[in-house]
Symmetry: C2
Subunit: 165 residues, 2 copies
């Protein structure tokens, strides 16, 4: 089940359900790569908030990318792993290998330019513990959900395998 | 994990991943109703292929709806249950209660008109056992994925709680 959907209150938040389901697609795609490798020309752009809880990256990278950072899984990545909450991968930055751990909840976008596939995620994946910021009757926001639709033209960031720093 | 995505071959089928993820949103919404009931004015339109494997409905309903059928979960439904593959519910048709079992894979659309939320699913959820009908390099079809996007104006079918037959 998606991990980003509140289950403790009585509201029906389709926007959060969609968000969690589409983050699950990223989890599944990464799981596919772990099992099968990257088929053909497929490659992944993953953009995440560097300051979000659970993100584990070198301090130098966080300093250089205080808001968001994009990594590419194409040719130069090692030891990709994933669990329900996050993926981990080793990348080379300035020829030094670093281990990164990125929760799926920290992702803001995912793209596979080889097949013009992309997903955009909510800037904040709220997990309202007390429901304080929910609409009165828990209605979903179609506009917010629309922001997470598969994009035919992913906004692929300018980054490469080796030197995002 | 979504149940409609092939895992045995090496292709990356984002279209099927999205399809499975969004069917999972329906599973989650039904699970929510099982736990919390239908909050406020929420109500669900569920359209499914009556002839698909695993669909269990009375013969009279199948005869009257040889292709698709829409049911509504609003006021008149009983004993809603769900597992990973399907949901079951008791509905009244011409004042006679019938038990229905509908696999999530048989759904063609889902809508909650109270919040202008809707999902459309692929007409066929292919589970290619031999990969014979896959594109050569397993590319996804952005157009197909786009057809499963959340719709802001669901095409709510003309049906009511009590008498779809």
């Amino acid at each position: 089940m998606p991990t980003n959907v509140p289950s403790g209150d009585g509201s029906l938040r389709f926007d959060l359900m969609i968000d969690g389901a589409l983050r699950g697609v990223v989890r599944q795609a990464i799981g596919h790569v772990i099992t099968h490798g990257l088929p053909g020309t497929h490659h992944f752009y993953l953009t995440f908030r560097t300051g979000q809880d659970g993100v584990e990256i070198p301090n130098a990278l966080r300093a250089a990318h205080p808001d968001e950072m994009t990594i590419v899984l194409q040719n130069q990545f090692w030891d990709l792993r994933a669990d329900e909450e996050a993926f981990e991968v080793t990348l080379s930055f300035n020829r030094i290998h670093h281990r990164l751990r990125v929760p799926f909840a920290a992702l803001t976008s995912f793209a596979d330019p080889s097949v013009q596939f992309g997903l955009q995620f909510q800037a904040e994946t709220a997990r309202p513990e007390d429901g304080a910021d929910l609409p009165a009757d828990g209605e979903s926001d179609p506009a917010a959900a629309a922001g997470e639709q598969p994009a035919e033209t992913p906004d692929a960031p300018a980054a490469d395998d080796a030197a995002p720093a």
